[in-house]
């Protein structure tokens, strides 16, 4: 059995690694994913090669292919990892107090333009490649589903939910691509507006 046989689905994590060897293997796998994200952060998704990742992780090239047979597997795993990170943060917001949810989302967005810019850029890049591989669609959708869940706790209007998801995503892009001033109050205002009462002149 090889390591790649265990690297299948990205939810995984359900195994019980009583075996010390496998425990070390899982640690290695995590290291490699971390290194991959570092490379994507530094050089973009195009800079991800078995060699660059291996060098970043301080291992040999062959070891990288041992855990992730193909480069695609590596990128998939990286996308899964970063997606999990974001969705877990959103879910933490959902579990928190009501009045902090929208503000928490706003802070998350603002953070994408500040310290977490490179990381957010990496996620966007990986998500974009996901659009080209049907198998990755669900992974890329996870973040949006989290926002949907958050929005659903604030309103019953499905249109308001859709608007919040869209505007959150658009704001993320704005602070990422444009140099939109990343002010939490400002972002919060736009978010709140998107969820506001439906426009009186339109009910299609």
């Amino acid at each position: 059995m090889t390591a790649v046989d265990r690297a299948g689905g990205c939810p995984g994590e359900g195994n019980r690694p009583v075996d010390g060897r496998r425990a070390r293997g899982d640690r290695r796998r995590a290291e490699i994913i971390e290194a991959t994200l570092a490379v994507v952060t530094r050089d973009g998704a195009a800079g991800v090669t078995h060699r660059s990742v291996a060098q970043q992780a301080g291992i040999t090239t062959s070891l990288s292919t041992y855990y992730f047979a193909t480069l695609d597997d590596l990128l998939v795993a990286a996308l899964c990892s970063v997606a999990d990170e974001y969705t877990s943060r959103i879910r933490r917001l959902v579990d928190g107090p009501v009045q902090d949810r929208l503000r928490g989302l706003a802070e998350l967005i603002v953070e994408s333009g500040g310290p977490g810019r490179q990381r957010a850029l990496a996620e966007r890049e990986l998500s974009t490649m996901a659009a080209r591989r049907p198998a990755l669609g669900p992974v890329a959708r996870h973040w949006r589903e989290g926002v949907v869940e958050l929005a659903s706790t604030l309103t019953d209007d499905p249109q308001a939910v859709a608007a919040l998801v869209a505007v959150a995503d658009g704001l993320c892009t704005a602070v990422l691509i444009d140099d939109v001033p990343a002010d939490t109050g400002y972002v919060l205002g736009v978010l709140a507006r998107a969820m506001g009462t439906p426009h009186p002149d339109r009910h299609p």
Copy 2:
């Protein structure tokens, strides 16, 4: 003089090619850009190489480098081209009747999920790489500026403008990544909501 010397800025288009040779050259350049977009559409931005583009265009590899010395130049030109296309369509909406503007924007978004899906995906991919190359920022921002202009003709509230831009972008992503049903009425509803009156509880 080489061809690349004339391939500088992307607005260009101001020359008067009385010279038949240069006219042919300009035609070639356009063909190569078209081929580049075809490659991005088919294989993604990562699939763009001088060789793949040349094959797609039915020319030799050297000719591709003759017009675009470096691969970056080629990608820049391709992004410029597709960005121009979108912005011109938006500007056409701005010049049209008021009541058609928001609906026209909605149709543009819906189209991104339908027939123009591949093309929209290509633009998103190119825009994303633009975030990593400062020189391309202005080009990638063009589309957003177009939407800003459109929104400015519909409201004076800067927050409403920001919300519309963000929600338009987010909806584009939604129909691109998710399998959100591409219904013009639905999209129009969300757009209108985002521009709606500010939420009464918040004025930061």
